[in-house]
């Protein structure tokens, strides 16, 4: 079983998403939460890094945190699944361990 990585900072603020993507192993999952949801938006200068990583990592974004920031699910990049807190719990349970990139 693989690892769930959580990233809670915008890629425009910190490089935690970049670090995470560099070190996350194939088959693992990344959940973008809090300001990290900005990393899920399409059409940003970080979108390509995320799209490239999607080849072997699955991506999720926390819906309530998108909503809290006025970001529309319509602007979430293709291939990223929107989940709620219940989905967050499922992801944590389904993966072997959870690594927070604080």
């Amino acid at each position: 079983m693989a690892m769930l990585h959580t990233v809670n900072k915008s890629p425009f603020e910190k490089n935690s998403l970049e670090s995470c993507l560099r070190l996350a192993k194939a088959g693992s999952a990344v959940l973008l939460t809090e300001d990290g949801v900005v990393g899920a938006m399409k059409g940003t200068k970080h979108s390509k890094d995320v799209a490239d990583a999607m080849a072997n990592i699955s991506f999720y974004v926390l819906g309530p945190d998108l909503k809290a920031r006025g970001l529309s699910e319509n602007n979430v990049a293709e291939g990223i699944k929107v989940v709620d807190y219940s989905g967050f719990v499922d992801l944590a349970a389904e993966h072997e361990s959870v690594q927070a990139w604080l």
Binding site: N8, D84, S86, F88, D90, A92, A93, S97, A100
Partner: protein
């Protein structure tokens, strides 16, 4: 499944405590167990009994207290982090010659061993911080 939660930030400054609370609530609703929530660093401020937020705002310490009461969740404040920040329970206040104490209902003060134990006993540790 048993979850352990670590909260490293105080209330109202970062989203960490809110996120951790929402996660804990969702996990309990799904029938999981929260083995323990460990509050470390500024996270100990979540355990104050003296917070009086505006009435139209969420009361973060009370939310945790209610979660502890309703679902017998173990809320632990790190003793060293708590003492530095003026968070004292009755025993600690007495021991340090202080006249008052301010640990909210449902919280208790203990050591880092409780975090290690949560890491061992829980199936998953989920960390919330800044």
């Amino acid at each position: 499944m048993k979850f352990g939660i670590l909260v490293n930030e105080g209330p109202y400054t970062h989203q960490a405590s809110d996120s951790a609370y929402e996660f804990a609530k969702a996990a309990i609703e799904k029938g999981h167990e929260i083995f323990r929530v460990f509050f470390y660093h500024d996270g100990v401020n979540n355990g104050t009994s003296l917070a009086v937020p505006p009435q139209d705002d969420r009361h973060i310490p009370n939310q945790w207290s209610e979660l502890a009461k309703d679902h017998s969740v173990d809320l632990v404040l790190c003793v060293a982090a708590a003492q530095r920040r003026g968070m004292l329970d009755e025993d600690e206040a007495k021991r340090n010659g202080k006249t008052s104490h301010n640990v909210a209902e449902g919280f208790r003060i203990s050591g880092l061993g409780q975090l290690i134990e949560a890491g061992i006993q829980a199936d998953r540790m989920v960390v919330f911080g800044d």
